[in-house]
């Protein structure tokens, strides 16, 4: 009897060991997710389509980024042509060409919505160091859009992040976040982000079109589309300077 039990235990161990050895922890998944969404430099063009009870508005943009901290967005659609948003380490600047005015956004001002969308300026300044701000817990595996995903619950460590609780669905292969639910500390669902389309850049899978829906406001959603994307292009360092912002 005891021999049979020993054999059974050995059998279970043989089958379970590889998955136990290679199973990723929540922190490792987050690290990988952050790593794969960061490039040395990027250049992209795309659009932000905002829908609310007043209708739909589309803004076109082109953007440059460098590492985790520097990025520049320039709007090219008629209504916002020439408006720029520069993000450098810890700072965010807005440039309005009509007024020739440069505004530094800080503190509570960062919480304002960007062009009336469901994305705030603060969402843009958020650095890709999720684990600094959130405690991650792996809930298990789930299939989402026919992709096997790790389901993680992120609970804010500080009060300085917008969403106290995030639930994310991370692709087990590409580490792309297919879906994210943003909630208050009491668990009230505020926003849902869902990736609708993806594209490949080298070996990485990135979102081509994602939809952010405000669950508190009826008929309010933002569709973000990337039309062109270039990974690691050679960028002039002066792109991310204030001098460049005002020309």
């Amino acid at each position: 009897m005891s021999r049979k039990l020993s054999l059974l235990l050995i059998g279970v161990l043989i089958f379970a060991l590889p998955s136990m050895l290679f199973a990723l922890s929540a922190e490792e998944i987050i690290h990988e997710m952050d790593r794969l969404s960061t490039f040395e430099t990027t250049y992209s063009t795309g659009s932000i389509q905002t829908t609310d009870r007043f209708g739909t508005k589309t803004s076109l943009f082109r953007s440059w980024s460098q590492g985790e901290k520097d990025s520049l967005i320039e709007f090219t659609s008629k209504a916002e042509r020439g408006q720029k948003i520069l993000r450098t380490e810890g700072s965010l600047y807005l440039f309005y060409p009509d007024a020739e005015q440069l505004i530094r956004m800080q503190g509570a001002a960062l919480r304002q919505s960007m062009l009336g969308s469901d994305i705030s300026y603060e969402d843009m300044t958020e650095e890709k160091n999720t684990l600094d701000n959130y405690k991650a817990k792996l809930e298990g595996l789930e299939t989402f859009k026919e992709k096997e995903c790790h389901v993680l619950t992120l609970t804010a460590k500080t009060r300085s992040v917008a969403y106290p609780i995030q639930k994310i669905w991370v692709d087990t292969e590409s580490f792309l976040v297919w879906k994210a639910e943003y909630s208050t500390a009491q668990g009230r669902l505020l926003k849902v982000m869902e990736v609708l389309e993806t594209f490949k850049s080298g070996d990485r899978v990135l979102p081509k079109q994602s939809r952010i829906e405000d669950k508190m406001k009826k008929d309010s959603a933002t569709l973000m589309t990337v039309d062109t994307f270039e990974a690691n292009p050679k960028l002039d360092r002066s792109i991310f300077t204030l001098e460049n912002l005002t020309w």
Partner: protein
């Protein structure tokens, strides 16, 4: 001189009808001046009172970091130990209350409102026990009830805001806001009271909830964004601000600053100052209209006396004496008119001060800077009565000089033939 004065007074009594008609013309002109001045001044006084009673209080304390970002209502820049500040103020003899102001998106639901929607609002979290010692919302409740201390789910709304969104007592809304630090928070609250605040800017936007409940949800940890102080009516605000600041500094609360309502309402004062120029012009025009009326009546009254004047000259009366007699007579008419004018003005003003004129339908959708909502009331201004009285007499005397001067330049026969 006594003879001249007696002659002037006898003339007044002799031409009773003319004296009465001229005096009435003067009285109506002056009454108009007194009433317009009372209304214009009344708007300013009421507007200032409504600003202090419902919006700014007399003096406000906040942290030095709060003021530059005040339009963003940063909860992070709150006063950490408000009770300590309140105790210091109490020792100095001031009445004060704590408040926390925060921006929120108010979500409306179709269940109550008929359709879903949202609007941006400013929420005032108050201490229900002490707020009414500084502000005056207690007297403005028109429906439901005021907030109770520690009430978690109740809000009180301004009647114009409630009207605009179709809110009624018992309706539920959600306030979506950012807590201290920046985290999102949603608060479900029910409308428990509606107030009709006389300050239109407040009545259009007011949402009040309990400070402690808001503080818990927003992670304020006992801090508040402001402490408001009420000063007696005649207190010198600037002196009191210095006194309060000295008391705060002496207690080691150097990061706090006290500001007078004048500092907080600079925009309003700039508008009021600009309007004061406009009201000055209106008042001047009213005065001119009154003056023209008085002049015209006096001129006519004097011109028709040219023959009498010629007769006096023919009888050997000196020009200076004639001039003086007519000036005294004009002054007498002016005195009667001015007395009647201020009496009529005072009677009209009693109505304006006690009842006022209801401009509600006109002011409902109009923001003309002043914090006056429906009824515009007059005020008592001794200055305006004195101006009316003195100018009524002086104008009559000055204006009478013109026809007298002209008549005295004429030949005596020409005066006697004058029609």
């Amino acid at each position: 001189m006594k003879f001249i004065f007696t002659l002037a007074m006898k003339n007044l009594a002799r031409y009773k009808r003319r004296t009465v008609i001229t005096a009435i013309a003067i009285a109506l002109g002056l009454m108009m001046y007194v009433i317009v001045d009372s209304l214009l001044l009344g708007i300013e006084v009421e507007s200032e009172r409504n600003l202090l009673w419902y919006e700014t209080s007399s003096v406000r304390i906040h942290t030095k970091e709060y003021w530059p970002d005040r339009l963003l209502y940063p909860l992070e820049e709150g006063i950490e130990h408000p009770q300590q500040v309140i105790d210091i103020l109490k020792q100095e003899g001031y009445t004060a209350t704590e408040r926390t102001m925060f921006k929120a998106d108010m979500i409306l639901y179709s269940d109550d409102f008929g359709e879903d929607g949202n609007l941006s609002v400013l929420v005032t979290a108050i201490d229900p026990d002490t707020d009414n010692q500084v502000f005056h919302f207690e007297d403005t409740l028109i429906e439901g009830r005021l907030l109770n201390k520690g009430e978690k789910e109740g809000i009180v709304m301004g009647s114009w805001l409630a009207e605009d969104i179709g809110a009624k007592i018992g309706y539920w809304v959600t306030l979506l806001t950012r807590g201290n630090g920046g985290f999102f928070e949603a608060i479900d609250v029910q409308v428990v009271g509606i107030v009709n605040c006389p300050n239109p800017n407040v009545n259009r936007t007011l949402i009040m909830m309990d400070k402690d409940s808001a503080g818990t949800v927003l992670g304020m940890e006992g801090s508040v964004t402001e402490i408001d102080i009420l000063l007696p009516n005649r207190a010198d605000v600037d002196t009191e601000v210095i006194k309060i600041q000295t008391a705060l500094d002496a207690s080691g609360l150097n990061n706090l600053e006290a500001q007078s309502w004048r500092e907080m309402a600079k925009d309003y004062l700039a508008i009021a100052e600009a309007k004061r120029g406009g009201t000055g012009i209106i008042l001047f025009l009213v005065f001119i209209i009154a003056a023209v009326g008085i002049s015209n009546t006096m001129l006519m009254a004097m011109y028709e006396r040219t023959r009498e004047l010629g007769m006096m000259r023919a009888m050997g009366m000196k020009d200076n004496h004639i001039r003086l007699a007519f000036i005294f007579e004009a002054g007498g008419i002016g005195l009667l008119g001015a007395l009647a004018g201020i009496v009529l003005g005072a009677l009209g003003n009693i109505f304006l001060v006690e009842v006022g004129i209801n401009y509600g339908s006109l002011l409902r959708d109009m923001d003309f800077g002043y914090r006056v909502q429906n009824i515009i009331r007059g005020t008592w201004s001794i200055k305006s009565f004195v101006i009316a009285f003195v100018s009524g007499i002086a104008l009559s005397m000055i204006v009478s000089l013109i026809p007298i001067r002209r008549a005295l330049k004429m030949d005596i026969p020409a005066c006697l033939r004058h029609q």
